[in-house]
């Protein structure tokens, strides 16, 4: 097995789709948490394989989308400084702040570099001792061990011209915020397989019990998603609300302990603001005091302030599963991936951007068909 193509097998996909149709007797709304799963669902047209009773809601699981505007503004301010080399994962560069984005800073001569790993940013710092190298440390629990390791190694090897702009978010508090909201529609969750690869799934057991929702830890290939949906529907139809693990090949109950230990060594849990959602208590990671010297916000003195989002954008409702992207009047017109108005259009894992990329043409064809 190579663990990719097998999970896209057409015949098995169809068998799963039939099993789901056979089992479903009532309307159910299921939310996939992770933007990677949203991307697979929209790209492979998985919703079209499901019975009309099942609605898939696309959750807040894209760290690029939920990074608050203020932090993007801090990033562009730091990146514009002449002594700085600003390193980031590629998908953060197009994300609009209140007046600029990292690509524009780069176009005006800022030294903004795309890196594949935080360790690449650390290496750039070692090679450029006369410059300040700043890494934009965004991500969920999946990415936290990697970013923690870069900071830990910088500390261990005294790489003092390295610092991080931290915007780490945590999944379980966001799920709880959604479930406790009066306008929650979600009846079952597909939990994010790679977040749980790192963290395990014990944290989800009290949530499943308290809110009476099935939570199925699910992978990212089409068959993973379909099996996750089937497991979730089986629970819903039987009136069960348990935590189950579809993504057995990668996720262990307790997760990856060495990775968790490194995250705990470097970070502590803090409140975080989520773009489109607002502040959620204890929903993010910040640097521990021992590593405060590596905090770019402190080092560059960028001030904290709050900014209002564009009022036309409904990304908050999309992120909470209340509305679908096409329900927004700006979708595909005034709001596109090139000129996004808000969170869910900015990264290719955001629900609006995925719909724009894979479903816009299909809607145009359907519209043209109706007209003729």
């Amino acid at each position: 097995m190579k663990y990719v193509d097998e999970y896209r097998d057409r015949a098995t996909v169809q068998r799963y789709a039939r099993a789901i149709r056979r089992l479903t007797t009532r309307p159910w709304a299921i939310m996939e948490v992770c933007g990677g799963q949203t991307h697979t669902i929209v790209k492979y047209g998985i919703e079209d394989l499901l019975p009309k009773e099942i609605t898939l809601l696309h959750g807040p699981g894209c760290p690029v989308c939920v990074t608050p505007l203020e932090l993007i503004d801090k990033a562009t301010q730091i990146a514009a400084r002449p002594q700085v080399i600003f390193c980031s994962f590629g998908d953060m560069l197009r994300v609009p702040g209140s007046s600029s984005d990292l690509f524009s800073v780069k176009a005006k001569g800022g030294d903004v570099r795309i890196v594949y790993s935080p360790l690449d940013a650390l290496q750039i710092a070692r090679e450029n001792p006369s410059r300040e190298v700043v890494f934009f440390a965004v991500g969920f629990e999946t990415t936290a061990p990697a970013n923690a390791m870069a900071i830990f190694q910088a500390h261990m090897q005294h790489v003092e011209n390295f610092s991080v702009l931290v915007s780490h978010v945590l999944v379980p508090p966001a799920i709880e915020a959604l479930l406790s909201s009066p306008d929650n529609r979600t009846q079952g969750f597909l939990a994010a397989g790679h977040v749980c690869t790192v963290m395990g799934y014990e944290e989800y057991v009290p949530l499943a019990e308290k809110y009476r929702v099935p939570i199925v830890v699910t992978g990212f290939e089409p068959l993973d998603i379909l099996q996750g949906i089937l497991m979730c529907i089986r629970q819903l139809e039987a009136g069960r609300a348990e935590v189950e693990n579809q993504y057995l090949r990668s996720v262990r109950r307790n997760g990856n302990r060495p990775a968790q230990e490194q995250v705990t060594r470097v970070f502590r849990v803090v409140p975080r603001k989520w773009r489109g959602v607002g502040e959620i208590p204890q929903s993010g990671l910040g640097l521990r005091d021992e590593f405060a010297a590596y905090d770019a916000e402190g080092r560059f003195g960028v001030a904290a302030y709050a900014i209002e989002e564009d009022s036309e954008c409904i990304s908050g409702e999309v992120l909470r599963g209340i509305k679908k992207p096409q329900e927004c009047p700006a979708f595909g017109g005034r709001c596109t991936p090139e000129h996004p108005l808000g969170a869910t259009m900015v990264s290719n894992e955001g629900a609006c951007a995925a719909y724009y990329r894979y479903r816009r043409l299909e809607q145009q064809v359907a519209g043209a068909g109706k007209g003729s």
Partner: protein, 82 residues
């Protein structure tokens, strides 16, 4: 953002937090940190996220997706209808 890609370990060097290895992704080789999978051996498949192996892929568990429907006892009924 949380994308992780499976690859096969070809070689391992270093120790502890600096342990790393060459991982083949369908013929493309990359250097990957193995600090978080201390038990990994050459020949194992790992899931790699931003340059870090975050888990060892379990072959026996990987097959269950293809056996699940059978275990559900539905496979017979799910065959193509006449």
């Amino acid at each position: 953002m949380c994308l992780a890609v499976p690859g096969k370990i070809l070689s391992i060097t270093g120790e502890d937090v600096l342990r790393s290895g060459t991982v083949s992704f369908g013929g493309i080789n990359k250097q990957v940190s193995l600090a978080y999978v201390p038990e990994v051996r050459v020949g194992d498949y790992v899931l790699v996220h931003v340059g870090f192996a975050i888990s060892i892929v379990e072959e026996s568990e990987a097959r269950q997706t293809f056996e699940y429907l059978k275990q559900m006892g539905e496979l017979e009924e799910l065959g193509p209808r006449p």
